[in-house]
């Protein structure tokens, strides 16, 4: 569900597509990335997955008029139908991957801190209007529906993650059954997004915010929004926690 998947997008799509991380500038704390400049043009997700960076959307936490280098806010494609296209960039670093201009992602968290590359709002585009939550569930023989935010943890190159929610329903034979507990799932980011086989249409699309995104040394925080529709993934390793 969107209120859960938004933070999965944050951790496994938005963070690894930060250019400063990919170039080693965050190696001592936030980490590097499994995505490198050589990944541009390569498939890292299924064809159902198109992600955009957006600093213009009304009522989103990461929206600005201009970034901290004076670059006008814009919208840009990060992943197009599963193919990695663009890093998040600043003026200082965009040229390092051959870009002629920045995507406007420079930001400090206060007047007293140093601007550096921070993520914009990152959205997973909705699927076709005839894909519904019910049709996604109907295509599942044995699965779990996850809503809300639980525990989130991911490695420093954004490969291995474990995410939990705060409400879970068993799915059997294409039907949503009763609630279950102690659920988390582990995965490897590129495998996870390539296992996506459907996302619901625009009427299901929802946006949620997070205010505690930490990066940099000394740590700075960032507030951004992520949006998506209910989305289905196949063959995911679901585990029982304490």
């Amino acid at each position: 569900m969107p209120n859960h998947l938004m933070l999965t997008i944050h951790e496994s799509v938005a963070h690894p597509t930060e250019l400063d991380r990919a170039l080693g500038y965050e190696a001592n704390y936030a980490g590097t990335s499994y995505i490198t400049p050589a990944t541009i043009g390569k498939r890292i997700a299924s064809e159902h997955c198109t992600f955009v960076g957006d600093r213009t959307s009304p009522r989103a936490l990461g929206t600005v008029g201009y970034d901290d280098e004076g670059v006008k806010a814009s919208t840009f494609t990060i992943i197009d139908k599963g193919i990695f296209r663009n890093f998040q960039t600043t003026r200082e670093q965009a040229h390092l991957v051959g870009d002629k201009e920045s995507h406007g992602c420079s930001q400090a968290d206060s007047w007293a801190t140093v601007p550096f590359q921070r993520m914009p709002n990152v959205y997973l585009k909705a699927g076709s209007s005839d894909t519904t939550l019910e049709s996604l569930i109907a295509g599942i023989d044995d699965g779990v529906l996850i809503d809300g935010r639980g525990s989130y943890s991911i490695d420093q190159q954004r490969y291995n993650f474990q995410f939990g929610g705060d409400a879970f329903w068993e799915i059997k034979g294409g039907k949503k059954l009763g609630m279950i507990s102690k659920v988390a799932y582990q995965g490897r980011t590129p495998d996870f997004w390539q296992s996506c086989d459907g996302t619901a249409g625009p009427s299901y699309w929802r946006q949620y915010g997070t205010t505690g995104d930490a990066k940099g040394e000394p740590t700075q925080i960032n507030s951004i929004s992520h949006g998506c529709s209910p989305t289905r993934f196949r063959q995911i390793n679901v585990l029982v926690t304490d």
Binding site: G24, D155, K182, A184, R188
Partner: protein, 453 residues
């Protein structure tokens, strides 16, 4: 930075503006200087100075708080007025206790002036030392050297006043292969910046990086582990919330008994496990007052394996007929240890090499990353190993291995600990500090592999 007298004058001025029967003021000033480096070069150097006054007023158990960064009279008056407006809107707090009277706060910390004043000229030579070590081996260094200096004063309308000044520093570095095929880390916090040993840290991180190259994939599962001090602290310090007296008595911690009661006084851990808070240890700065503004004292939480104390804040202690715990920390009963990062797990004289030599088959872990709670009652956590994991066979390090995700609680970890080594002050990647030894623990769950280097 404020002197004691300057801070007291500001606090008294704010208290004088308040029309409410209770008014508590906190005056803080902080200075932070740092030099950051990556890809074998300095990327950022900064000096930041901040000041802040926060005011909390209470009338008829209704409380409001407001903070100001501008310290002119008009701004301070406006902050008090805002706090009083907010209090008028707030519902009464049924757990509100009357403000504390004057307290005698102990001196916890001898400020090191050199640390408090350090700027880039003191830091850059450390950065150069580390980068030179990395360059000689065609490696790539990143890191941070930082010092902080903080002055805090608290005061209230009853005449309570406390003043505390502390300085701290840290140096960390991650050294990676230029092609990203290996990584090593080392770090050191110190209340005395002159003690930061950049040559040693650069050498340790570079050696780890060289040794971890060509990490092999071995099966996930439960392993005996040797946790270096930072790795041990990364997990052990998360036991804190389990010692909340209120949460335990309400059945919400690992020390709660089914059906009621607590495990206070029970031997849950091995004989050699002693966990304490000591705000007077000169190795790590700590506040002289608790979150409830009571004077801080040293306290033992686990004494030779026995649960020795729970943390009671003033409200819950009053309600249950107990004494508030000097290290009781937080307000509202949730606090755990509180007390400002003075936690320490006792060690021994055993060096890390001897701990490794005693392991037939296990893993040596440098430190952990992105640790998050999975279950607040059992304290199960998940996170990942980082910057050096090595297979130990017959007492010797034989093979670098890929990173793992872990799924373990500090409670189970301490129960399964078989040996502890020498304790040192450490700082985890996500900022947690304590004095911790390396330790050996059995049956440590590592359920999946991470490809991250």
């Amino acid at each position: 930075m404020f002197t004691r007298d300057e801070a007291q004058k500001i606090a008294q001025k704010v208290i004088g503006y308040s029309t409410f029967p209770e008014c508590q003021v906190s005056v803080t000033a902080s200075g932070q200087a740092y030099t950051r480096f990556a890809n074998n070069g300095i990327t950022t150097a900064s000096l930041g100075l901040r000041q802040n006054v926060s005011v909390t007023v209470t009338r008829d158990a209704k409380t409001g708080s407001y903070a100001a960064d501008d310290l002119d009279d008009a701004s301070l008056r406006a902050a008090v007025k805002k706090a009083e407006e907010l209090a008028n809107l707030a519902p009464p707090n049924s757990e509100r206790l009357a403000a504390l009277g004057p307290q005698q706060y102990p001196r916890t910390f001898d400020l090191d002036e050199r640390t408090a004043k350090a700027r880039a000229p003191e830091m850059i030579p450390h950065v150069k030392t580390i980068i030179d070590i990395a360059l000689k081996q065609k490696l790539v260094a990143a890191g941070l050297i930082e010092r902080t200096h903080r002055v805090t004063a608290v005061a209230n309308k009853t005449g309570l006043f406390g003043f505390h000044e502390a300085a701290d520093s840290q140096l960390t570095t991650t050294v990676r292969m230029a092609d990203g095929s290996s990584s090593g880390w080392a770090g050191q916090p110190s209340t005395r910046i002159a003690e930061l040993d950049s040559a040693k840290l650069g050498a340790v991180a570079s050696e780890k990086c060289a040794q971890w190259k060509n990490a092999q994939r071995i099966d996930p599962g439960n392993y005996t582990v040797v946790l270096e001090p930072t790795a041990a602290a990364d997990i052990v310090r998360l036991i804190e919330s389990g010692f909340s007296g209120r949460n335990t008595e309400e059945g919400r911690t690992f020390l709660s008994k089914r059906g009621g009661g607590t495990m206070l006084g029970e031997k849950l851990f091995p004989e050699f496990i002693t966990l304490r808070s000591d705000p007077f240890d000169p190795r790590q700065p700590s506040s002289p007052w608790t979150g409830d503004l009571l004077p801080a004292k040293a306290i033992t939480w686990i004494d030779k394996g026995v649960t020795a104390n729970l943390a009671y804040d003033r409200y819950w202690a009053t309600k249950t007929g107990k004494q508030p715990t000097p290290g009781g920390g937080g307000r509202g009963g949730g606090g755990g240890f509180g007390g400002g990062g003075s936690l320490q797990l006792d060690g021994t004289e055993t060096p890390l090499e001897s701990l490794i030599a005693g392991v037939e088959r296990g893993l040596l872990i440098t430190h952990f990353w992105y640790i998050r709670g999975v279950n607040p009652q059992t304290l199960q956590q998940t996170g990942l190993t980082r910057d050096g994991v090595f297979l130990i066979e017959n007492g010797k390090i034989t093979t670098p291995v890929l990173n793992f995700r872990f799924l373990e609680s500090p409670v189970r970890l301490l129960k399964n600990t078989t040996k502890v080594g020498q304790a040192i002050r450490v700082r985890g990647l996500e900022g947690g500090m304590m004095i911790a030894p390396a330790l050996v623990a059995t049956d440590f769950p590592l359920p999946s592999i991470s490809d991250a280097i």
